[in-house]
């Protein structure tokens, strides 16, 4: 977006939606391999790291895009070594429905945020 409009909230919301999409794929992979011997469960690491952006009062500070780039979500192995296949179908399916809801919430929030910016650009006229 243009520098005059761009702010870190849109970028942060975009990364959160990325993380939700990646988590859906990780969970689908876990479910597909629920009965494969020796399979290691995978997850997505995003929310744990991005807590570093919060300051003491519970506010999330606005970060520059270069700093935000280091918070991109990535896949990680979620099960301990030597445990074997510890995929529990119930846990994975429950996590998947929670993740789907979170994705919908983020998409709706991003829509509203962009609509607000659009309002400002259109000076209140449709």
């Amino acid at each position: 977006m243009l520098p005059i409009i761009d702010n870190s909230t849109t970028a942060l919301l975009g990364m959160a939606i990325d993380a939700a999409a990646m988590r859906q794929q990780a969970l689908a992979q876990n479910i597909a391999n629920a009965n494969t011997p020796g399979y290691q469960r995978i997850g997505v690491n995003f929310e744990e790291r991005v807590n570093a952006l919060m300051d003491g009062t519970g506010q999330v500070r606005a970060a520059a895009s270069s700093e935000l780039a280091s918070f991109r979500p990535y896949f990680q192995i979620a099960s301990a070594d030597g445990v074997g296949n510890d995929v529990s179908l119930d846990t994975e399916v429950a996590a998947m429905s929670e993740n789907t809801l979170h994705h919908q919430v983020l998409v709706k929030a991003l829509s509203k945020h962009l609509a607000l910016i659009g309002l400002a650009i259109n000076e209140g006229k449709r």
């Binding site: 969970l27 479910i31 998947m96």
Partner: protein, 144 residues
């Protein structure tokens, strides 16, 4: 996000569970088929699956999923000893009157059936979730 990759992962999971179901059904159907001798009796089959690793590659600055899912490594006979039953009048009875039946464990096969069914349902849930997320993503900026 590559939605084709998410569907492919769930589809491969469903295919494997369907194969497991077919193999279990074959085992149960052949539970009482006597063999001409202990060496030629039906051996219960089992499905061996292998993971296709999920990797993400950078393409045009965006993350693109490649691979992922599960593939069928082999369907191989289990090394189970056949069940010998004393039936002297049976045409396949050997010198001691023992007839060889396949060593199919009924309970284990029913559990396999249940496991395959639950895993299949879970894969369907995963595919529906991927479809819902793809549909909702189209709503970005649609209306306020």
């Amino acid at each position: 996000m590559d939605y084709a990759a998410a569907f492919r992962i769930s589809a491969s999971g469903m295919a494997i569970e369907k194969t497991r179901l077919d193999v279990t059904a074959a085992n149960i159907a052949n539970m009482h088929s006597a063999g001409t001798s202990a060496g030629a009796v039906y051996r219960p089959m089992k499905v061996v699956a292998a993971t296709v690793p999920l990797t993400f590659s950078q393409q045009f600055g965006a993350l693109v999923a490649t691979g992922g899912g599960v593939q069928l490594a082999s369907v191989e006979p289990a090394q189970v000893a056949p069940r010998m039953v004393y039936e002297p009048g049976h045409p396949y009875a050997d010198a001691q009157g023992m007839v060889a039946y396949p060593g199919v464990d009924h309970t284990a096969e029913m559990m396999n059936l249940n496991t395959a069914l639950r895993a299949y349902e879970a894969n369907v849930v995963a595919m529906n979730a991927a479809r819902t997320m793809a549909a909702r993503t189209l709503d970005i900026g649609g209306q306020s």
